[in-house]
């Protein structure tokens, strides 16, 4: 098992190991810890891609560094804590991964966190959509 798979497994255990209300609280903690945008994106929101499938506006951007590792940047308003929480989980799981490894992350892992009961399956769609867009950006940037 790669270290990333271990991170995901650990996260699934963290969420699944607690009750529904506590899962919401854990998601809230994630939302509070979403890293702030570095100035180069904060000042250039046009560089970020809007995730249309999310209920609240969220923007994301992927960078691939010289060693082909992926770095993720998100921007979502404080009034959208659920969306921020989803972004923060993705950041924890994906940020800094080798791009090739990121592309192999299980597309279905958002469904395995047990969040559907806590936030509703419809809201969870936004997280899967973010993951899909991150992978698409990674593919495009690797091909460029």
């Amino acid at each position: 098992m790669s270290s990333n798979q271990e991170t995901i497994q650990g996260l699934i255990q963290d969420f699944q190991g607690i009750g529904i209300k506590d899962r919401l609280m854990l998601l809230l903690e994630f939302s509070e810890n979403l890293p702030v945008l570095p100035p180069r994106y904060a000042e250039h929101p046009d560089l970020l891609e809007r995730v249309e499938e999310c209920q609240s506006p969220i923007f994301l951007f992927v960078e691939i560094d010289e060693s082909k590792h992926a770095h993720l940047f998100f921007s979502a308003p404080a009034e959208a804590p659920t969306t921020r929480g989803f972004a923060s989980i993705l950041h924890e799981v994906l940020d800094g991964l080798p791009a090739a490894e990121l592309l192999h992350v299980d597309d279905d892992f958002p469904n395995k966190l047990g969040l559907a009961e806590a936030v509703s399956p419809l809201r969870l769609n936004g997280m899967r959509a973010m993951l899909g867009r991150i992978k698409r950006q990674v593919r495009e940037k690797l091909a460029a």
Binding site: E53, Q55, R123
Partner: protein, 303 residues
């Protein structure tokens, strides 16, 4: 026990039913009034936890008001359980507020009305106005004393429309409250919102397009009666007193806001919310659809 109504607002007094709204100041003065329960209902399921009006309880439209299996609202037993654990008695005054111009708060109020809860009001301006005015928020959950809310069967006949009701309704006014792009059929869901899925785009024949937010002012309060009349009556969508109106959107939430406006603020009786809305109509086999910006002709009613 019902709490005295808010008589402090000249704007409210103009509405057909001024008793269904309270101002932020009124609520601030009544935070601890016995017989009053404050409910927050937001689009974002975590927003309440980031800070809420003191003593407010949370009711979520997805996880509390909808049945987890069937596409429907909770039944009588489910509603009784929800209100009991929320500390609400049948004769309590309930003030609901939420994000986005009370869009989801209106939806919650509409569901409360399916169960005939008598005294339910909205906080005019909702969560955002309360915050903009610098009023108190807390993360402290209120101490809830569970109640024994009676088992009341849901009444779907008066303010709720099903698809067959819509087919039988042709010839009477329909209001489509979605965005212009959804109405014309350019897209099947709201810009930047999740796609709950509809196989076809467009609108129900003869429906007039009046996006729901035209009823809301900049500061998220409801517009004045005169402004609302300009939007919905003769010079606007052409509704008349006595009209039998059905409003719809995508899943019935935005149209709850319009239902609230037509029913309580303009006093049009007989307004129903078609909560199946476009996610049902746009996937139904064999129902008529119009594409483009014109309402189109109403087909013969199907009964």
């Amino acid at each position: 026990m019902s709490v005295a109504i808010d008589t402090t607002s000249a704007k409210f007094a103009e509405y057909a039913h001024p008793e269904v709204l309270v101002s932020t100041q009124w609520l601030a003065d009544n935070l601890n009034t016995p017989g009053l329960v404050i409910v927050e209902s937001d689009e974002d399921v975590l927003l309440y936890e980031t800070g809420h009006i003191p003593n407010a309880v949370k009711i979520d439209w997805h996880t509390d008001l909808n049945d987890p299996v069937t596409r429907d609202y909770v039944d009588g037993a489910g509603f009784a359980a929800l209100l009991s654990r929320s500390g609400i008695k049948r004769d309590d005054t309930v003030v609901i507020y939420g994000d986005k111009s009370n869009w989801w708060a209106s939806y919650a109020l509409w569901v409360f009305k399916l169960f005939g809860h008598e005294d339910v009001r909205l906080l005019d301006g909702g969560r955002d106005l309360w915050i903009a005015e610098g009023r108190e928020l807390t993360k402290t959950a209120p101490e809830i004393v569970p109640t024994e809310y009676p088992l009341i069967e849901r009444d779907d006949t008066k303010i709720r429309a099903y698809r067959d009701d819509v087919l039988a309704h042709f010839g009477n006014p329909l209001i489509d409250v979605r965005s212009p792009e959804e109405y014309s059929g350019e897209r099947t869901h709201m810009p930047a919102y999740p796609d709950e899925g509809a196989l076809r785009g467009g609108h129900i024949p003869s429906a007039k397009s009046v996006p729901w937010a035209r009823a809301a002012a900049e500061n998220q309060t409801f517009k004045s009666r005169a402004e609302l009349e300009a939007v919905y009556l003769e010079d606007g969508a052409g509704l008349k007193p006595g009209d039998n109106v059905i409003a719809y959107c995508r899943i019935g939430e935005r149209s709850s806001h319009t239902w609230f406006v037509l029913n309580y603020l303009l006093g049009l009786p007989g307004v129903r919310n078609y909560d199946g809305s476009w996610t049902e109509w746009g996937s139904l086999v064999g129902v008529p659809i119009i594409k483009g910006t014109e309402p189109g002709e109403a087909p013969a009613p199907r009964r």
